[in-house]
């Protein structure tokens, strides 16, 4: 007899029993010994402790490992989105603008520094009281 249908294991067992019974009912199938043996078989081994939690942990672990990392997302973006003409043109234009702005800002600071120094040198050349003394 099949065990009562209260768990996954029991459901599987019931399916096996049904199949065996169907096979037994088929004409010409006379393997009564096997049928008897299967019907007498009892799967009464206890489940390992924390079986359900372990199963769920493994499911969650598999899902987590499948979630894309940042680098994977960037690589996918570079591979799929960036080659689109509109996005590529915007990307190049933005980087170009950033380069121009950074160059101009740095150059302005450097020019102001050099001119400031030269102005101070001019004044120090004319005023003896501004000449650094030891």
């Amino acid at each position: 007899m099949c065990p009562s249908p209260f768990s996954l294991r029991d459901s599987v067992w019931r399916g096996v029993c049904n199949n065996v019974n169907m096979s037994m009912n088929e004409p010409g199938n006379q393997d009564a010994a096997l049928g008897k043996l299967l019907q007498e078989w009892r799967a009464d081994a206890p489940l390992p402790p924390h079986f359900q939690q372990d199963v769920w942990r493994r499911i969650e672990g598999a899902q987590t490992s499948r979630a894309p990392s940042v680098w994977t997302a960037i690589a996918r973006w570079i591979g799929t989105a960036l080659p689109r003409p509109a996005l590529a043109a915007s990307y190049v234009a933005i980087l170009l603008a950033l380069g121009v702005t950074a160059g101009w800002t740095q150059a302005r600071q450097e020019t102001a520094r050099v001119k400031g120094e030269l102005g101070e040198r001019y004044i120090r050349a004319l005023d003896p009281y501004l000449v650094p003394r030891q």
Partner: protein, 153 residues
């Protein structure tokens, strides 16, 4: 993927090239000033938008002033040394110290008169508006600052 990487690198290369070109172009005037034979005067010409003839006249004034300035520098240095020696020799006010302090003040006054005269001459050589701006600028950095006094200490 390959096309995307090419676009990515192209964008970065263009940004770097744009940075370099703009920086190089915008700092060329400063580099030219530094490379000139008299960077301070070259700066003066650019800052106060002087014509070649004005610049030439100002260079002459500058060259004529520098020996006087160097002479004053020597006198100020010698006087400072004298005051220092006198101060180290005693712990009270003496007639010599008073005289040395008076001489230091006289030298400072003379130095300032020479400077101011030079500034006026230079400013008169410039276009009027630039001349006024020059005078305000030099006075701010010489007469109206305490830096010289701080360095005297």
């Amino acid at each position: 993927m390959k096309k995307g990487v090419v676009i990515l690198l192209l964008g970065l290369a263009l940004a770097a090239a744009a940075y370099g070109c703009i920086y190089f172009a915008c700092t060329s005037s400063a580099r030219n000033l530094e490379r000139s034979s008299q960077p301070e005067l070259a700066w003066l010409k650019e800052e106060f938008k002087l014509s070649d003839s004005e610049f030439q006249r100002i260079c002459q004034l500058h060259e004529a002033y520098l020996p006087k300035c160097a002479e004053m520098c020597g006198m100020v240095e010698a006087q400072n040394h004298r005051v220092k020696t006198l101060l180290a020799a005693t712990n009270q006010m003496t007639a010599e110290i008073e005289s040395a302090i008076g001489e230091s003040a006289r030298l400072r006054g003379q130095c300032q008169r020479n400077m101011l005269q030079h500034f006026y001459e230079v400013s008169r050589t410039m276009p009027p508006e630039q001349g006024r701006r020059y005078l305000a600028w030099v006075q701010e950095r010489t007469f109206l600052t305490s830096e010289g006094m701080m360095q005297e200490k």
